[in-house]
């Protein structure tokens, strides 16, 4: 049986989503990249981003999740969604 919510699939979705706000810098460690402090997702865009992740990957992201440091990096967010996948 196919694995649900593969990490690469989650990462691709996130990268495609945030790239609408501009090209990602070259030579970065994607997993450690903080997409919030760099403004790819700002306070105005956060809700839509989270709801689209919830819908796409059938998970629930709470307000508490959003304040965790791991939520701010691409790798951390991928891990968090993976953990929530049932």
């Amino acid at each position: 049986m196919d694995e649900k919510n593969k990490p690469e699939e989650i990462k691709d979705f996130i990268l495609k989503y945030i790239s609408k706000k501009g090209k990602l810098p070259k030579d970065i460690d994607v997993d450690k990249f903080n997409y919030i402090d760099t403004g790819y997702i700002d306070s105005m865009g956060l809700i839509k981003f989270v709801v689209e992740l919830e819908q796409k990957f059938d998970v629930q992201i709470t307000d508490d999740d959003m304040i965790l440091p791991e939520f701010r990096t691409i790798g951390g967010l991928v891990e968090s969604i993976k953990r929530k996948t049932v």
Partner: protein, 504 residues
């Protein structure tokens, strides 16, 4: 009249090696930008993009976006820039209502559009982020395009340069026409008001599909100064950018400044001493935030009031007018602000009414909506839809909005847009979008929902539907399911009562 592009080309001849724009670690000199604009103008010309035609733009903040504004000026075309995060249906509606014929953008935004829904966009479509070696990639198209001047196009100044859309996804869009002359006059007025010179480094940190950032990037290019363009905003990036790029002037929206003030409370931040002047726009800042910013940034500090249709109407110098901090200042030079009472007469000092404004920087009307344009005017005065009063010294106090509008992070959200989308769900009997205060964004959207008899509202379904059909800034932050909406004896919804019921 000289076009914006010609004024820029003259500046490029005077200071070819000076940095024209810095954005996200990339810089471009006046000479390089001038060459890029000429080549791109010829590329569009050779692809039948003609004088007077409209180009839809789906770009994030970058050097190419600024160059495209100059290209449009150069060939006498107009751009229709939109928020690339808008749902495809909203982009299609907005492009159709603005008669967009050509589209330029980044691939991820353009590929979501359904060409069949774009009735007039039969012209040139260009993705500028193709980095491949194909002959028709943007890089190659520009490389092979001549740098010769555009001939045979006379610019009068009255041509539309930018059609800016303030409304969103479902209602009839109201494209605001800004002419080349509007943009030149507005840039020069701001330079004069805040004593901006060619020595300044001017920061734009809001999206370029809004008139504020457009003005902030055109100001430097029209006077030979340097534009510092942030690709995106976060308070820490703003401080880093101001420090490293030695920014000396900016106009920011107040919700950005609130977030910056919050960060400035940290003791570990480097000192910033390049700033000469900051202007706050969009909503009044709380006094404690003004003082925190003044103490840390040590520069002139102004607050202004205006709208896309009129540009800056009033200005308050916070240091010079400490007794007037609850006001938004006095009318700027050549601008007349009056208060119009409901009976159609002008108010005396201290009397409340609608803020109206006569300005040489007045917009070119709402595109193809002459009746709407007419109804927004009282003689030569533009009716802002805001309520206010003037004191005896001519200082304007903003009291409330007459228009049903939520301003979140400086961007307008029309409650009707949100309500129409949610009302599409079969289980919803009624839906009302309201504004609730927010520390970071000033205001955010909340919705009150009433279900149809015998049906249940699943909030997850409502949230998913909003995410699909509304732009990021339109997303509701709070949902309230209630039994019925408060109404007066005539059956009319009492929104104030609803806000009170939900927020107390």
């Amino acid at each position: 009249m000289s076009s914006i592009a010609n004024i820029f080309f003259n500046n490029a001849e005077r200071s070819p090696e000076k940095t024209a724009i810095w954005c996200d670690g990339e810089t471009i000199t006046y000479k390089e930008l001038s060459s890029f604009v000429k080549k791109w103008s010829n590329l569009l010309n050779s692809n039948n993009v003609k004088y007077g035609e409209h180009i839809g733009v789906l770009l994030p903040n970058n050097i190419e976006f600024v160059a495209l504004m100059l290209v449009a000026s150069n060939i006498g075309a107009a751009i229709v820039p939109l928020n690339p995060t808008l749902p495809a249906s909203a982009i299609e509606l907005a492009f159709n209502s603005s008669d967009v014929k050509h589209v330029i953008g980044i691939t991820s935004s353009m590929e979501t559009l359904n060409k069949e829904n774009l009735k007039d966009a039969t012209g040139f479509c260009l993705s500028i982020d193709d980095e491949n070696e194909e002959p028709n990639s943007f890089i190659n198209l520009i490389k092979n395009s001549p740098e010769t001047p555009i001939t045979g196009t006379k610019i009068f100044g009255s041509e539309a340069l930018i059609l800016t859309l303030t409304s969103g996804s479902t209602g009839e869009p109201k494209p605001i026409v800004l002419t080349q002359k509007n943009k030149i006059d507005r840039a020069h007025a701001a330079c004069e008001l805040y004593s901006v010179t060619s020595e300044d480094k001017i920061l734009a940190a809001t999206p370029l599909y809004h008139s504020l950032a457009e003005r902030l990037v055109l100001m430097p290019l029209l006077i030979g100064a340097t534009s510092i363009l942030m690709p995106r905003f976060s308070p820490s990036m703003w401080l880093k950018c101001v420090k490293e790029q030695e920014v000396s002037f900016t106009i920011a929206v107040s919700s950005q400044l609130s977030q910056i003030a919050e960060l400035l409370a940290s003791p570990f931040l480097p000192e910033i001493n390049s700033l000469r002047c900051i202007v706050s726009s969009s909503a009044l800042l709380e006094n404690h935030i003004k003082y925190e910013l003044l103490a840390k940034l040590k520069c002139d500090f102004h607050e202004c009031y205006g709208a896309s249709e009129i540009a800056i109407a009033t200005n308050l110098n916070i240091v010079d007018s400490k007794t007037k901090l609850k006001s938004v200042g006095k009318a700027t030079p050549n601008v007349d602000v009056k208060i119009l009472k409901e009976d159609g007469t002008f108010a005396n000092a201290g009397e409340a009414g609608e803020i109206i404004c006569k300005t040489p920087m007045l917009f070119g009307g709402y595109y193809k909506l002459p009746e709407l344009t007419k109804s927004a005017m009282f003689g030569d005065y533009f009716c802002t839809g805001d309520l206010g009063k003037l004191d005896e010294d001519g200082f304007l106090t903003f009291l409330d909005r007459k228009k049903d509008l939520i301003i979140t992070g400086g961007i307008n959200v029309y409650p009707k847009d949100v309500e129409t989308v949610i009302a599409q769900l079969p289980e919803i009997e009624e839906c009302v979008a309201i504004s609730i205060p927010d520390d970071r964004l000033g205001e955010v959207v909340a919705v009150a929902l009433v279900s149809k008899k015998g049906q249940e509202i699943n909030l997850k379904t409502v949230k998913f539907h909003c995410a699909k059909c509304l732009a990021d800034f339109q997303q509701p932050r709070k949902y309230f399911i209630i039994e019925k909406l408060p109404r007066n004896a005539m059956g009319k919804l009492t929104k104030h009562a609803l806000v009170e019921q939900l927020t107390t």
